[in-house]
Amino acid sequence: MAAVPSSDKSARLAGLLSRIALGDQTAFGEFYEATSPHLYGVALRILRDPPAAEEILQEAYVNVWHHAGSYEVAKSQPLTWLTTIVRNRCLDQLRRRELDTVTLTADDDDAPAYDLPSDTMTPAEMLLAGAEARSVRDCVDALDAGPKQAIALAFYQGMSHSELARHLREPLGTVKSWVRRGLEKLKSCLDRAGYARNE
């Protein structure tokens, strides 16, 4: 990938993955040590449910052990690859949960089932801090306050449109258009900066 600079950490993780593909248990343990706090941080913020987040990680690492050989170095960095998988599973579960409980929770409130350790950064700050490369940071920074906050809360905490509307105390239509316009703007800015290519 042209845009993402490969780091020592990625090279080390890719090396561990190729040893895991050969059944190296020590490499698997090291890979777990190096990646699980990041993945758990991502999963727990979205699900707010430690047993559910642990279960998603459990499946992810069982898959790493069995499929480390199918990881393609050329396509993405190991942690990006794994984070994408974990985020997807968390979102699948979160959205499915909403579908299951939609008729049950007459008195649903905003209180999360689990309190996260208080973060020193807000989701909007994470959005900026996460964009390591300068042009990505510029693109995120260029978003208006509303869209920026909506995208950050959706991305890091898995909020749906209606949760965003409640949390930000804005009409649903406003929030939906913030998300849509924010993503469009982010896309054209990032693509101009050469951040993602269509394959």
Partner: protein
């Protein structure tokens, strides 16, 4: 709806963006994921968005999961449940290596020659046991993978379970008494841990069975109630 038609690309791109962001509602989310499995244009739109947003996860503050998580993963995969990096320098871990050598030796004995011939890419090859009653209609599916001690049971039929009773799953080994795998939920999906990886645990087990027990399962270690369902374990090699 054919999303990959050129005139619908802007619509596809918007859907892919909200899929990756996470704001797509459940049904739309599942539908798009299903289409992406066969439609490379749709899959490509999603992957491009994943790459765009991937950098944003870098700053998420890490949270160390409970040590229990690694133990469960190691247990499922039949690995030595010691966390190498947390255990200090290698020379302080002689006990670990000794234990490990012994465990591998025992496992090798149990596996015999099959270990040498087992292709690693078949580690997640599914093993499915269909459990049915006398009417031959499937009541439960028990699913495992070769490289994983986790067994998943799913109710697909069968009679309702009275509230004061429990279903219990048993291995029926050749020439020895039934061995309990644990109580399974009356409906839906349950997860149990096999005593070893399937190749070992089921090596001499031609069948699984489900009995109806008092709530919480048999207290004696042997089935007390009637056997409701049985299913043959297909030979794996």
């Amino acid at each position: 709806m054919n999303l990959s038609r050129p005139d619908r690309l802007p619509r596809l791109d918007a859907l892919a963006a909200e899929y990756v962001l996470g704001t797509l509602p459940s049904r739309a989310r599942m539908r798009l994921a299903r289409i992406a499995r066969t439609d490379t244009v749709v899959a490509g739109a999603i992957r491009t968005w994943e790459q765009r947003l991937a950098l944003l996860t870098e700053a998420v503050p890490p949270i160390t999961p409970s040590p229990r998580l690694w133990r469960v993963i190691a247990l499922r995969l039949g690995l030595e449940p010691v966390r190498p990096a947390a255990a200090g320098p290698w020379w302080s871990r002689l006990a670990f290596w000794r234990g490990f050598a012994l465990a591998s030796f025992t496992a090798a004995l149990a596996l015999g020659v099959t270990m040498l011939t087992q292709a690693p890419e078949r580690a997640d090859q599914p093993i499915v046991v269909v459990l049915a009653g006398p009417d031959a209609k499937p009541a439960l599916l028990a699913t495992m993978s070769r490289g994983d001690r986790l067994l998943t049971v799913k109710t697909v039929g069968g009679a309702p379970v009275p509230p004061d009773k429990s279903l219990e799953l048993w291995m029926l080994p050749d020439g020895s008494p039934p061995r309990s795998l644990g109580v399974i939920p009356a409906t839906g999906v349950g997860r149990l841990m096999l005593p070893a990886l399937p190749d070992v645990a089921l090596a001499r087990v031609p069948a699984l069975a489900v009995s109806l027990e008092q709530a919480g399962g048999s207290r004696t270690g042997a089935p007390q109630g009637p056997v409701l369902y049985t299913g043959a374990v297909q030979r794996m090699y």
